[in-house]
């Protein structure tokens, strides 16, 4: 009798322990869940029945598509379980009472359009299919890699596939169901495999800083067509950094592990068809300007203190670019320029968590604290 009770108690304890684990693992399995220039920026729309318009220049994809497909995993939610915002509505800055000054926004200034996308909305949707300056675009955010990129979408829209590769959001286009890892901006599966997307610059900054720079900005409103508690971030917090964003562990194995920096350290990177280079964001903030190269192409990373963000430019080899010690201007051959207005072609600088950047671009150069 006693033995039976003891055994029963042990079984109950075991059940309890398993129940605890299962209970803890239940429910909110929300896993997904920079910018640049491909030379196409004439504002013309290219409606296409077969997916988004192709980029003129494809960025590096360091792995075979088959390897990337094999490394693609389910993040938990089904296809469209994280719903993209397909009918966004905007409000003027003065009507954005739902945004606090210190909250992060993804800012876009494109032609006549200036728009801010609050991160607290993006974290629940990851993709906003919008139209800026007459051009159909998608503004995308992957919480697990900390990456924001803008793409032209043509006549189609992008959705969240529910899959991840290297922890990064895998998008799908609703015209062909091809699969597009966000950072790669290149399809790795489906009819458009190998095609790259046209990208445009987006900026990761705070609402206060964006509004100060662009007082006329519009803001994506919480009227997304879905109901969510937009103050609740399933992954943690950015103010202050907590949860997934602060912890160095990742949920999924990176394509490549690189311990030159802690995994969640923020870097600003650029990639070309030939390779990739990156700068530690805090190092760039300290230096103001960091020179870099990919192959025989020279790039200048420039910090913009007013936005606490960075930009990248393609710079001719012989032109001196330096931070001015006295103000926030950047000296180009001695002449002062605003950090976001250097007289060079802008390259797409992508802010990312280091593990994600290094995973996608294992041969990347890195400029960081010595």
């Amino acid at each position: 009798m006693r033995t039976r009770h003891t055994r029963r108690a042990a079984v109950a304890l075991g059940v309890g322990a398993v129940g605890a684990l299962a209970g803890c693992l239940g429910g909110n399995s929300v896993v997904d869940a920079g910018g640049g220039d491909d030379g196409h920026d004439d504002g013309t729309e290219t409606p296409s029945a077969d997916g988004p318009p192709p980029a003129d220049r494809s960025p590096l994809v360091a792995y075979d598509a088959s390897r990337l497909r094999a490394a693609t995993v389910s993040g938990g939610p089904p296809k469209d379980g994280i719903p993209s915002v397909d009918e966004p509505s905007v409000v003027d800055a003065s009507a954005a009472a739902f945004l606090r000054d210190e909250e992060i926004v993804v800012g876009v200034a494109r032609g006549e359009a200036v728009r801010a996308y609050p991160r607290k909305i993006l974290v629940h949707h990851e993709i906003v299919n919008d139209r800026l300056d007459g051009v159909p675009v998608s503004v995308t955010y992957c919480p697990l890699t900390g990456t924001v990129l803008g793409f032209e979408r043509g006549a189609t829209t992008f959705g969240v596939s529910g899959n991840l590769v290297n922890s990064n959001l895998v998008m799908y286009d609703r015209a062909t169901d091809s699969r597009w890892p966000q950072v790669l901006a290149t399809a790795i599966d489906g009819p458009l495999t190998g095609r790259s997307l046209r990208e445009f610059d987006v900026v990761w900054t705070t609402w206060r800083q964006w509004r100060a720079r662009y007082p006329e900005t519009e803001v994506l409103s919480e009227d997304t067509g879905y109901v969510r508690n937009y103050g609740v971030d399933p992954y943690g917090s950015y103010g202050p950094k907590r949860g997934y964003y602060a912890r160095q562990s990742t949920m999924f194995e990176p394509l490549t592990t690189d311990d030159r920096l802690q995994p969640k350290t923020t870097v600003l990177g650029v990639r070309t068809g030939a390779g990739a280079t990156a700068v530690q964001s805090s190092w760039l903030a300290r230096e103001g300007v960091v020179d870099a190269a990919v192959g025989d192409e020279r790039f200048a990373f420039v910090h913009d203190p007013a936005l606490d963000s960075g930009f990248a430019y393609r710079v001719p080899a012989d032109v001196p670019v330096a931070a001015d010690g006295e103000d926030d201007r950047i000296r180009v051959d001695g002449d002062p320029h605003a950090p976001d207005a250097l007289p060079f072609e802008r390259a797409h600088g992508i802010e990312a968590m280091w593990f994600a950047w290094a995973g996608f671009y294992p041969e990347t150069d890195l400029h960081a604290y010595p």
């Binding site: 605890a20 803890c24 429910g27 909110n28 938990g76 992954y235």
Partner: protein, 195 residues
């Protein structure tokens, strides 16, 4: 494959426990508290709302069937009453209520057994242990977030296994709660209802 008697016994025990005041109070505590915990943990119940408002999505009947995660569905309305905001997902609320009834029943039996173990023919410790899954399933919530909490680092295949487990956690939790009732009431005498 449990015999009908194995299922009837826990049902009888739960009924008997619910005829006692302490059992009723404990059941209500679990059954009312658990849904709040569950909805808060999946982000459907949150603080920080300002003012009072009700939003309803277009076409709620079809929207409520759209899955956002395994065993979780699109909310169709948001009710805000300063400072609380509730997302109304009928199916999620249904899941929460089913689990809440099981949690309440587990707690009620555990408390009754703990207060009068001799009457049930169960050791006090066994009754207490039975309440463990009920108490801990309150964390049926955080999905992969819990992986960060328990410090799962860069895991390869293991993470995939855990995430697969996440998807089935809700039904597994329900089965565990039923299982713990069956285990704890196995071979018990009827619960006394006089006190």
């Amino acid at each position: 494959m449990p015999t009908p008697d194995r299922l009837r016994r826990p049902a009888r025990t739960v009924k008997a426990a619910l005829r006692r005041r302490d059992g009723q109070a404990t059941f209500l505590f679990g059954a009312l508290g658990y849904p709040l915990l569950y909805l808060a943990s999946i982000g459907h119940l949150a603080l920080g709302a300002r003012g009072q408002s009700v939003q309803v999505v277009d076409d709620p009947l079809s929207r409520m069937l759209r899955q956002t995660r395994p065993f979780s569905f699109e909310p169709v309305a948001r009710v805000a009453v300063d400072p609380v905001a509730l997302l109304v997902s009928p199916l999620d609320i249904g899941v929460a209520l089913v689990l809440a009834a099981l949690v309440g029943a587990n707690l009620a039996v555990a408390v009754v057994v703990w207060r009068s173990p001799a009457a049930c023919g169960v050791e006090r410790s066994a009754g207490l242990l039975a309440s463990v899954p009920a108490l801990l399933t309150g964390a049926t919530c955080c999905g992969p977030a819990i992986l960060f909490v328990v410090g799962v680092g860069t895991a390869g295949a293991g993470t995939g296994v855990l995430l697969t487990a996440v998807g089935y956690a809700t039904p597994v939790t329900a089965l565990l709660l039923v299982g713990s009732l069956i285990l704890v009431t196995r071979g018990t005498a009827a619960v006394r209802t006089d006190g």
